[in-house]
């Protein structure tokens, strides 16, 4: 593993040097990058998540469960300890040293200018890290009080990693109920510690907090709608962003132009930046949600409990949910393959929760696309995509907030490093560094969730088996650990084998019952 890292570093720097020397970068990108990257990704894939034997960060996993540590009271504590000791969330991991920027042009007389298009979690965290790194940052956001339709669930690690104040979190969900097609209800959450929870936030509150923090660090917020971008033909011309400025001078907005050296596209699932760089299309789910104000006694049931409904009636390839918000619940569902029927699925979800939300009034209806997989091209010249614009939403759970924020931070860090704190021009290799780091770090998480979705959201028997498996304590522990801390924790192998056998048994039994029911002609 160490040798691979050295090889990667060496080849990265040699690649960078040749590209500098050539000064006609595009052809060398085409050849060198595929040679470089598949090694990393195939390595990650073939060895699974056990890949990094040279990485100290795996040892930190044991600290999570208190196996070698034992001094720390809880996984949260150990995370905090690890973070403070190393000053980063990769405890002890030596980042790839990319020397690409050493050969790149030094900018005279000014700092590197970067525009972040979109001011959600991704844009806000990217702008903050860029500004902290000494780069002139512009954050373009079209609606500063936007309440993005969203489940609003954030994992525990996000609170720690992004220093979120406790006021931001409306509710701490500690119990989840999974309900199968035949209404078998399983309570999940018995294995949580007292200080572990899933945070429910209001998007407008979270987004503005992150943006304000970026401003405090030196970023400039432009309240404007990004229209399009002029992509330069060579590496000396800046990117020209055309936008409509809503600075209050006129009601309709005045056209504005911004010239920057690099652009980060953080404008969400309908990203225009992605369109401008021909990033390609992706499959997306439509998530449809109704906010329902229910009577107080019914609201008590949802005090810190969220529900998940699975079934053919609720969605053919996703789940329906009831998530508690500040003073109401959000009832919704989603689907990829049968989008026109979304309202039918929503009615079915409401019907399944009917007894628990009876007497409620719908106060708001919202919908939004959710990407299902990353776009074919996530970086192009000096433009990179992060968050939903890149397609970093997990399957199975549809989680995107944490990954948006994290990708924003990682991309910004790559730019800061590649430009040596804003003194040098960046280019595509610096952005590719961020992509490489991202893929290497989170590929296992995404793949595991993809497998779970493919296996357990496949059919009603599979969903019944899924809910049956969720009753198991080991499953709950593994699920919450991987969700709350975003690490694919290798558990005890014996327990894993037992789990595998139980899963196969559940699936077989459920499918056998289905086959019998098909024979039935009542």
């Amino acid at each position: 593993m160490a040798s691979l890292q050295v090889a990667l570093t060496a080849s990265t720097s040699s690649f960078a040097c040749t590209s500098r020397a050539a000064a006609a970068a595009s052809s060398s990108y085409g050849e060198s990058v595929p040679a470089l990257a598949p090694r990393a990704s195939s390595n990650a894939r073939s060895a699974g998540f056990v890949v990094a034997t040279g990485r100290v960060s795996l040892r930190a996993f044991e600290g999570l469960r208190g196996l070698s540590g034992g001094l720390v009271a809880s996984p949260v504590e150990s995370l905090k300890v690890a973070r403070s000791s190393s000053g980063g969330d990769d405890a002890g991991y030596q980042p790839l040293r990319v020397y690409a920027a050493r050969g790149s042009k030094k900018i005279e007389g000014r700092k590197l200018r970067v525009a972040v298009v979109g001011g959600g979690p991704a844009g806000g965290c990217a702008a903050e890290t860029l500004a902290k790194g000494g780069i002139e940052t512009f954050l373009i956001e079209r609606k500063l009080d936007n309440a993005k339709p969203c489940g609003g669930a954030i994992p525990l690690c996000m609170v720690g990693e992004f220093d979120l104040p406790p006021e931001i979190i409306d509710r701490k969900v500690t119990k989840m109920k999974m309900i199968s097609p035949s209404n078998v209800a399983v309570d999940v959450g018995k294995t949580l510690n007292d200080d572990e929870y899933i945070g429910m936030v209001r998007r407008e509150v979270l987004d503005s907090f992150l943006r304000e923090r970026a401003v405090k660090n030196g970023a400039t917020i432009i309240n404007g709608l990004f229209l399009r971008m002029d992509v330069p033909k060579d590496e000396n011309t800046p990117y020209k962003l055309h936008y409509t400025n809503f600075d209050g001078a006129s009601k309709v907005g005045t056209p504005g132009v911004l010239e920057v050296d690099a652009v980060i596209g953080a404008d969400g699932a309908n990203s225009r930046v992605a369109k401008d760089i021909d990033a390609g299309e992706y499959d997306y789910a439509i998530a449809f949600q109704e906010r329902i104000k229910i009577p107080d006694d019914k609201m008590e049931y949802y005090e810190n409990l969220a529900e998940m409904y699975v079934g053919d009636d609720v969605s053919p390839d996703f789940y329906g949910w009831v998530f508690p918000k500040c003073d109401h619940v959000a009832v919704g569902t989603g689907t990829v393959i049968n989008k026109p029927a979304i309202k039918k699925y929503q009615t079915a979800t409401r019907n399944r929760a009917k007894d628990k939300i009876a007497g409620g009034k719908i106060i708001r209806v919202e919908a939004h696309p959710i990407p299902e997989h990353p776009r074919p091209r996530r970086a192009s010249n000096r433009v990179a995509l992060i968050g939903d614009a890149a397609g970093y939403v997990t399957k199975c759970s549809g989680e995107g907030i944490y990954f948006a924020a994290k990708s924003g931070r990682m991309c910004a860090e790559a730019i800061v490093e590649g430009s040596a704190n804003g003194t040098r021009m960046v280019d595509e290799s610096d952005l590719r560094t961020y992509l490489e780091k991202w893929d290497k770090k989170y590929w296992a998480t995404y793949k595991v969730l993809d497998i779970l979705q493919k296996v357990f959201y496949r059919s009603n028997p599979a969903r019944e088996a899924f809910v049956e498996m969720c009753a198991d304590d080991y499953v709950q522990k593994m699920t919450f650990d991987s969700y709350l801390y975003k690490v694919v924790v290798p558990g005890n192998p014996l327990d894993d084998i037992k789990l595998a056998i139980n899963t196969i048994g559940s699936l077989i039994r459920a499918n056998a019952l289905r086959k019998e029911s098909e024979k039935m002609t009542v």
């Binding site: 409904y309 609720v314 299902e372």
Partner: protein, 304 residues
């Protein structure tokens, strides 16, 4: 002027995006022809599941008034909200009132028809229940689940027991009926009558006896017939007896292939299923690695 400029631009997925300040646009002759032009221009850029009737000749341009649909009035091009608004309303759930009147506008559903949307029975899921496909008898669709042996959210096993022996087949049958009825008529999940039934209360040998053994008999019968027939044919063709046939590596290999084949491929459609499964298992990886191929053409996204 600003409004005209906005309309002329090809916008992501949107037919038309309302102007930022939320003003409603009214269709007039000059603008609609420009709309046509802009729409046809970006039609060509999408190589996904295309809704053929989307090259329509006229459509109503209307900004939703933002009341019922949260961020719809934004100019950000969240057109999917506008499309969803255009879907036909579904019957209300009892006891839930709707304060926000839904807006409905006839527009072509383009964002709802692409991005992985499938057509026909495929859209119901990978393995939809017969009930979901609408293939149930009227008797079942009117029925509710009402079995006296179901107590406290699970089957009361004492009611299936005679002389100390539990009739597991009857338990399995009862559960099959319950699931079928609930698939056809989903019922609201209730906190008072929580269902806690777990299929693992039925012991493993009951499952084996009922489901595995008949199928095993079938497959063994097939294997025996295939084996005997091919053994006889090879003997007739080459004169090598049954024992000598299996002495060679080739013979052993053929034997292995036929055993696996009988197990894996029980119907002709199983070949397609296996091929689809193989494709499916690597599809997500390919989507992730697309950015490293640096392809000029964006990957065609066929939904699985």
């Amino acid at each position: 002027m600003a409004a005209m400029v906005t309309l002329a631009k090809p916008l992501t997925g949107a037919v038309v995006a309302p102007v930022a300040s939320g003003g409603a646009l009214s269709p007039n002759a000059g603008k609609s022809s420009q709309l046509l032009v802009s729409c046809r221009r970006w039609q060509g850029r999408y190589r996904t599941v295309v809704n053929v009737e989307s090259t329509g000749s006229r459509f109503v341009v209307r900004a939703s008034d933002g009341e019922g649909l949260g961020s719809a009035a934004d100019a950000g091009g969240n057109s999917i909200v506008l499309e969803v608004a255009g879907l036909p309303e579904e019957p209300e759930t009892e006891g839930i009132g709707n304060l926000a009147p839904p807006t409905s506008s006839p527009r072509k559903p383009s964002p709802l028809a692409k991005g992985g949307t499938l057509d026909g029975p495929q859209a119901e899921g990978k393995a939809p229940a017969a009930a979901t496909l609408g293939k149930t008898s009227p008797a079942l669709s009117l029925g509710t689940f009402d079995d006296p042996r179901w107590k406290n959210g699970t089957w009361d096993l004492s009611q299936f027991t005679t002389d100390g022996k539990t009739d597991w087949d009857a338990v399995i049958d009862a559960e099959v009926v319950r699931r079928k009825i609930l698939e056809t008529n989903p019922v609201s999940s209730n906190n008072e009558d929580e269902v806690v039934f777990d299929t693992s209360i039925v012991p493993w040998w009951a499952w084996v006896k009922r489901f595995h053994l008949p199928e095993a008999e079938l497959l063994n019968g097939r294997a025996a017939m295939i084996g005997y027939a091919s053994g006889w044919l090879v003997d007739a063709a080459t004169g090598i007896g049954l024992v000598d046939q299996q002495n060679s590596f080739f013979g052993k290999l053929l034997l292995f292939i036929s055993v696996v084949g009988v197990l894996a491929i029980r119907k002709t459609s199983d070949v397609d299923t296996i091929r689809d499964l193989a494709k499916e298992s690597t599809y997500y990886d390919k989507q992730w690695q697309a950015t490293w191929k640096d392809a000029k053409d964006p990957e065609k996204s066929d939904a699985l």
